[in-house]
C-alpha cells in the first residue's frame, strides 16, 4: 500500500506530462476567470461611481410639479440609512451693478454632491480646483460667462430676488450638469436655505425640487419599493444606468469581459478534459498492475479521487497566485485615469466563478475518464487489451456539454450569449462530421510513397480518429479565440467611431435666429466650423389622437418625455446617424407630419398615422406620425425626439438654434471673444467629460487586450494539450519509422505537413464558426451590425497551420535527437 501511494504522490505526478497539462490548464482557467471576474466587478463599481457622479448621487427623485415632496419621504430614506441631499432648480433674473440677466439657479443643500465633485475657480484667471460641496449660505457661485455679461468680479454682490449674495467662486463644472440641455441660461449655484429669503418662488413658478439619494444598492431598491406606490406622475425616479455615453461604453466593456470569461471557461474545460482523458489512458497499465497486486476497484477510485482533489487545490492556489497581482495591475491602470479612483476592492463574490470553474472542470471533465479506470481489467498486465472505443466516452460528453452550458450561463447570465456560443459549437461539430467523412473517403484513395505530401495525407488517414478529435478541438479553440478577437475589434472600432478625436465637445445653445449666420461665420473663421445647426422649439406632447396623452397612455408607463418639455425641431435631411425604421423621411416640399424617435414611439405605442398634438406656449399644433427613426443618443450631437419638416407645423413658432462642434484645446480662448460678441448664446463645454471618457476607454481597451492575451494563452495550452495527447504514439511511430529506414528530413516534412493540413482545415472551420457566433453576438448583445471579416479568413487558417506544424515539429524532437537503438530500448 505504501508503495502504491508513492506511485500516486503529487511530486511524482508533476513529472508526468499529462498531469502538468491538466494542472496548467486548471491554473490558467482559475487565473483568467478570477482576473476577469474581479476586474469586471471593479469596472462595475467604477461605472456606478462615475455614472453616479453624473447624477451627483446614486438616485434622484425629481418633482416637476413645483412642490416639494412630503418631508416623510426623505425622513424614511434617512431612517433606512440612505444619505440624502436636496436641490431646487428654477430660472430667475439676477441683478448686478450694471444690469440684469436671466439665469438658471441651482440651489443645493450642504450634502450636495453626494457623488462626484465640483470644479471651481476663485478668480477669473485663477487656478482651477476641485471641491466636494457647494456654496455656503450667503454665497453664490456663477458661470464665468455671467461675470462677463454683467461686468462683475469675484467678491462683488449679486441680487437674487430680495437677497444679496456674495460671488465667492466661479462655477466651471458641476457633476450633474453633464449632458442636459435644459440649462439655457447661465448657471448660478447657491445654498438651498437661502431660497426662501429671495422670495422668487411663488405658487405656480416653474421650479423643480430634486432630491438626492446615495447608499447601498439594496437599500436604495428597498426604498424605491416603498416609495413607488406613493409617487405621482410628476415625480420621476432616476437611476444611474440611463443611457449616459460613459456608462454605455463601460457596459459594453463589461459584456465583453463576460464573454471573454465565458470563453476562458470553455477553453479551460476543453484543455482539462483532453489532458485528463489522456492521463487516464496512460494510467491503464498502472491500474492493471495495482489490480493484480490486489487493490480493489473501489480503492483505485479513491486513490484517483484524492489525486483530483489535490490537483484542484493546486490549480486554485496557483490560479489565484497569478490572478491577484494581475487584477491589481489592471485595476491600478483603470484607477490612474479616474479623478477619484474607486478603491481597489477584492470582491469575494467574484472569486466564486473561478472556484466553481476549477471544480466543475475537474469533476465534470476530468473525473469521468479517470473513474472508468476502475474497470480496467487486470488481464491487461498479461496482454494488451483493445483500447477504449469512443462509445464509453459518450456519457462523458453529455455531462461535459451540460456542465459547459451551466457554467457559461452562470458566468455570463445571458442566455443569448450561451446560445450563440453553443450554437456556433454545434454547427461546427456538424460541419466537422461532414468534413471528417469527406476526408476519410478522399484520403482512403491516397497511397503512400517516399513523398512527404503523400506520407502526410496517408498519415492523416491512418490517424483518422485522433485527427478528427484534434481537428474538432483545434477548430473549437480557434473559433473561441477568433470570436473574441473579432468582437474585440468591433467593440474598439465602435468606441473609436463613437468618440473620434474630433468628436463634438461643445454645444452652442440659444442662438437667436438672426445671428445663426454670424455665429456660423465666426467659428468657421476661427477654424472650428459648426456641425449642422438645428432650430429648437420647446413644447409638450399633450394629446394623442385627440385624447389627452396621459389618458391615452397607460398609467404605469413612466415616460420621461411626457413629464417635461420636449425639444422639437424641424429638419430637411435625416441626420447621418439616424435611421428611419418605419414610414418615409419627409420628401422634398412636404410640410406635413412629424418623425418620432423609435424608443419613444414604442413606449407610447405610436403607429404611423397617429395624430400628435403639441402645446407650444399658448398654441397647439397637431400632426400625424409619418416616420419612426432611431437616434444615436450618445453621438454628442443635438438629438431630438420629434422632428418636423421645414415649413411644417413649427413654422412661426418661437425658435432658438442649437449646434455642436469640436473645439481644440488650443482654440479655447476663442470662446471668450465669442461670449463677448454673442452674450446671449449659451456655451456648454463638455470637452472635459469627453476627454475623460476617451481616457477611460483607452484604459479599458488596454485591460481588454491584457485579458485577451491571457485567453489566447489558454487557447495555446489547449492546443498543446491536444497535440501532446498523441505524443507517445507519434514518438513510437517516429522511432520505428527511423529504424525501418525513414530519413529524418522525410519524417519531419511529412509530420509538419500532416499537422499543417490539420491546422488549415481546422482554421477554416473555426473562422466560419466564429463568424456565425459573432453574427449572433453582434446582433443580440452588442447591438452592432454584422459584417464578414474577410481580413481574418485567410490569416487564421494560415496561422493555425503554421502553429500546428511547429507543434508537430516540436513533439518529434525527442525522436530525432537520439539513435534509433536508444529509442527502441526506451519504447520496450
Amino acid at each position: 500500500m505504501a508503495a502504491s501511494q508513492k506511485l500516486m504522490s503529487v511530486s511524482r505526478d508533476w513529472r508526468e506530462r499529462d498531469v502538468r497539462v491538466v494542472l496548467v490548464a486548471l491554473i490558467i482557467a482559475v487565473a483568467t476567470v478570477a482576473t476577469i471576474a474581479l476586474f469586471a466587478s471593479q469596472l462595475q463599481r467604477t461605472l456606478v461611481s462615475s455614472a453616479s457622479s453624473f447624477l451627483a448621487a446614486d438616485r434622484q427623485l425629481e418633482a416637476e410639479n413645483g412642490r416639494p415632496v412630503p418631508a416623510g419621504w426623505i425622513e424614511e430614506a434617512r431612517d433606512r440609512g440612505i444619505e440624502t441631499g436636496q436641490m431646487i432648480e428654477f430660472s430667475t433674473m439676477v441683478f448686478g451693478e450694471s444690469g440684469f440677466q436671466l439665469v438658471s439657479v441651482k440651489a443645493v443643500s450642504d450634502e450636495y454632491p453626494l457623488r462626484g465633485d465640483i470644479e471651481v475657480q476663485s478668480r477669473a484667471e485663477g487656478t482651477r480646483s476641485i471641491v466636494g460641496s457647494g456654496p455656503a449660505k450667503g454665497e453664490i457661485w456663477i458661470n464665468p460667462r455671467l461675470l462677463r455679461l454683467l461686468e462683475l468680479d469675484v467678491g462683488d454682490t449679486l441680487e437674487v430676488g430680495n437677497l444679496k449674495l456674495e460671488i465667492s467662486n466661479l462655477l466651471l463644472r458641476e457633476p450633474d450638469g453633464g449632458f442636459r440641455l435644459s440649462s439655457l441660461a447661465p448657471r448660478v449655484m447657491m445654498h438651498v436655505d437661502d431660497v426662501p429669503a429671495t422670495g422668487v418662488l411663488q405658487e405656480g413658478s416653474r421650479v423643480e425640487y430634486i432630491y438626492l439619494f446615495a447608499g447601498a444598492e439594496n437599500l436604495l431598491n428597498d426604498y424605491y419599493q416603498w416609495l413607488e406606490p406613493q409617487l405621482e406622475p410628476s415625480h420621476e425616479w432616476e437611476g444611474v444606468r440611463d443611457g449616459e455615453t460613459f456608462s454605455r461604453s463601460l457596459e459594453r466593456a463589461e459584456r465583453f469581459l463576460l464573454l471573454g470569461g465565458s470563453l476562458a471557461v470553455l477553453l479551460a474545460a476543453v484543455a482539462v478534459a483532453v489532458a485528463s482523458r489522456q492521463y487516464a489512458l496512460s494510467q491503464r497499465d498502472t491500474v492493471a498492475l495495482l489490480k493484480t497486486l490486489g487493490l480493489t476497484g473501489k480503492g483505485i477510485g479513491r486513490l484517483y479521487l484524492r489525486r483530483l482533489a489535490l490537483w484542484g487545490v493546486a490549480g486554485i492556489i496557483g490560479g489565484l497566485v497569478l490572478a491577484l497581482p494581475l487584477f491589481w495591475l489592471l485595476a491600478r491602470m483603470l484607477g490612474s485615469v479616474l479623478e477619484r479612483p474607486v478603491d481597489i476592492y477584492l470582491d469575494p463574490a467574484a472569486l466564486a466563478p473561478a472556484l466553481l470553474t476549477a471544480l466543475v472542470s475537474l469533476f465534470a471533465f476530468a473525473y469521468p475518464p479517470v473513474r472508468r479506470l476502475r474497470n480496467v481489467p487486470a488481464m491487461r498486465v498479461l496482454r494488451s487489451q483493445p483500447g477504449e472505443t469512443g462509445r464509453e466516452a459518450v456519457p462523458d460528453l453529455i455531462i461535459a456539454v451540460l456542465a459547459i452550458f451551466g457554467l457559461v450561463w452562470m458566468y455570463a447570465g445571458e442566455l443569448a450569449l450561451v446560445a450563440s456560443l453553443l450554437g456556433g459549437l454545434v454547427l461546427l461539430l456538424a460541419v466537422l462530421g461532414l468534413v471528417g467523412w469527406l476526408m476519410v473517403s478522399v484520403l482512403r484513395k491516397v497511397r503512400g510513397g517516399g513523398n512527404a505530401w503523400r506520407l502526410a495525407l496517408v498519415g492523416l488517414y491512418r490517424h483518422r480518429q485522433a485527427s478528427m478529435a484534434q481537428m474538432a478541438v483545434f477548430a473549437m479553440t480557434l473559433m473561441l479565440a477568433a470570436t473574441l478577437v473579432l468582437v474585440r475589434s468591433s467593440l474598439l472600432d465602435d468606441w473609436q467611431a463613437q468618440l473620434p478625436d474630433d468628436a463634438p465637445n461643445h454645444f452652442l445653445i440659444n442662438i437667436a435666429p438672426d445671428t445663426v449666420d454670424e455665429v456660423d461665420a465666426y467659428w468657421a473663421q476661427k477654424g472650428s466650423p459648426l456641425d449642422t445647426v438645428y432650430p429648437m422649439v420647446r413644447g409638450r406632447l399633450t394629446e394623442l389622437n385627440d385624447q389627452p396623452v396621459k389618458e391615452a397612455v397607460s398609467k404605469d408607463e413612466r415616460i420621461n418625455a411626457l413629464n417635461r418639455e420636449l425639444n422639437l425641431t424641424w429638419m430637411e435631411d435625416l441626420p447621418d446617424d439616424n435611421r428611419v425604421v418605419e414610414g418615409e423621411w419627409f420628401a422634398a416640399g412636404v410640410t406635413e407630419g412629424v418623425s418620432v424617435e423609435a424608443e419613444l414611439a414604442e413606449r407610447l405605442g405610436l403607429e404611423l398615422g397617429d395624430r400628435l398634438t403639441f402645446t407650444i406656449g399658448s398654441e397647439q399644433v397637431t400632426e400625424p406620425v409619418v416616420s419612426i427613426r432611431t437616434v444615436q443618443w450618445d453621438s454628442m450631437k443635438p438629438n431630438f425626439y420629434i422632428a418636423f419638416p421645414p415649413d411644417g407645423g413649427l413654422t412661426d413658432m418661437p425658435a432658438t438654434w442649437i449646434t455642436s462642434f469640436h473645439l481644440g484645446a488650443s482654440n479655447k480662448v476663442a470662446l471668450n471673444e465669442f461670449s463677448r460678441r454673442f452674450p446671449t448664446v449659451s456655451v456648454l463645454e463638455i470637452d472635459h467629460i469627453i476627454e475623460r471618457i476617451q481616457d477611460i476607454v483607452r484604459q479599458v481597451t488596454q485591460a481588454i487586450e491584457a485579458i485577451l492575451a491571457l485567453i489566447l494563452a489558454a487557447a495555446l495550452v489547449v492546443m498543446a494539450a491536444v497535440v501532446s495527447a498523441t505524443l507517445r504514439d507519434r514518438q513510437r511511430e517516429g522511432a520505428l519509422l527511423r529504424t525501418l529506414g525513414g530519413q529524418q528530413s522525410l519524417l519531419v516534412r511529412s509530420t509538419m505537413l500532416e499537422f499543417a493540413l490539420l491546422g488549415f482545415v481546422a482554421g477554416i472551420l473555426g473562422v466560419l464558426a466564429a463568424e456565425a457566433a459573432v453574427y449572433a453576438l453582434q446582433v443580440r448583445m452588442f447591438e452592432g451590425s454584422f459584417q464578414w471579416h474577410w481580413e481574418v479568413m485567410l490569416p487564421v487558417p494560415l496561422i493555425s497551420a503554421l502553429l500546428l506544424a511547429l507543434f508537430g515539429r516540436w513533439q518529434l524532437r525527442p525522436v530525432l535527437s537520439v539513435s534509433p537503438m536508444l529509442l527502441l530500448r526506451r519504447l520496450e
Partner: protein, 242 residues
C-alpha cells in the same frame, strides 16, 4: 533497384565485417563497457545465431551491426559501406533498402492495420504499388484474412508474423532478428521460426538472429557466443561452415 539487390546477392565480398568493435555507454558516475574487441565476418546468404546470457550484450551488438547506433570504437562495414562514416540519413537510406528487422516485442504500430504496418517500409523505400506486395506477403505468412486488423486484435504469434512480413517487405539483403520467438509459446515459436527460416531461404537473405532457443540456433549455419561483451565462435561450427 531490384537489379542492384540481385547484384549484391551474387557478390563474394562479406555482407558484414566488424573490426575491433568496442561499445561503451557513459552512465551518471562511470562508463560501462558493453562490448569489447569484437571481430566478425558474415558472408552473403549465411544464417548466424548469436547466443548468450541475458545482459551479455546481444541486443546492443545487433543494433550496432544494423546501423541503428554507432560504436564507440572500431568499424562496422555493412554491404560494403562503413556505417560510422555515414550520416544518420544515409544510414536510414541503407536500412530502408537493404535491412529488415524482427523484434522480440514485435514493434508494430498500434494505430495501423496489419496491412498498413507491412506497407510502411515499402512506402519509405519509395517502392511502387506497396499495397499489392504487402498483401502478397501477408498471405504468405497466413494472415490474408486479417489485413485490416490492428495489432491489438491479433495474438502475439500473429503479430510476430505481421512483423516478419514487414521485415521481408522491402526485399532486404540482410535480416536482423532479436529473439523473434522470445515472447511466444513453444508451438507458436516453432511456427514462427519455421516461417522465418523458410522466407529467409526463399529470398536468399543473410540472417543474423539473437536467440535463447537452442533448437532455433541449431537451424542456423553458424553460432556465435557472447559473454560479458566478448564474442567467441565454437571451432566445431567453423569446421561445418568451412
Amino acid at each position: 533497384m531490384n537489379q542492384m539487390t540481385d547484384l549484391s546477392k551474387t557478390d563474394t565480398s562479406p555482407m558484414l565485417r566488424v573490426t575491433d568493435l568496442t561499445h561503451k555507454v557513459s552512465l551518471e558516475a562511470d562508463t560501462l563497457t558493453i562490448l569489447q574487441g569484437v571481430n566478425l565476418e558474415i558472408n552473403r546468404g549465411e544464417s548466424v545465431a548469436i547466443v548468450g546470457r541475458s545482459g551479455s550484450g546481444k541486443t546492443t551488438l545487433l543494433g550496432l551491426l544494423a546501423g541503428l547506433d554507432t560504436p564507440s570504437e572500431g568499424k562496422v562495414e555493412l554491404d560494403g559501406s562503413e556505417i560510422s562514416r555515414l550520416s544518420e540519413d544515409e544510414r536510414a537510406m541503407l536500412r530502408a533498402r537493404r535491412v529488415g528487422f524482427v523484434f522480440q516485442s514485435f514493434q508494430l504500430l498500434p494505430a495501423l492495420s496489419a496491412l498498413e504496418n507491412v506497407m510502411l517500409p515499402l512506402e519509405l523505400a519509395g517502392i511502387e504499388a506497396p499495397e499489392k506486395r504487402a498483401r502478397e506477403l501477408l498471405e504468405r505468412v497466413g494472415l490474408g484474412e486479417r489485413l485490416s486488423h490492428t495489432p491489438r486484435q491479433l495474438s502475439g504469434g500473429e503479430q510476430q508474423r505481421v512483423a516478419i512480413a514487414r521485415a521481408f517487405a522491402s526485399d532486404p539483403v540482410i535480416l536482423f532478428a532479436d529473439e523473434p520467438t522470445g515472447n511466444l509459446d513453444n508451438r507458436t515459436g516453432q511456427a514462427v521460426s519455421d516461417l522465418l527460416m523458410d522466407l529467409n531461404r526463399e529470398q536468399g537473405t543473410t540472417l543474423v538472429m539473437v536467440t535463447h532457443d537452442d533448437r532455433l540456433a541449431a537451424r542456423c549455419g553458424r553460432q556465435l557466443h557472447i559473454e560479458a561483451g566478448v564474442l567467441t565462435e565454437p571451432e566445431l561450427v567453423e569446421e561445418v561452415s568451412g
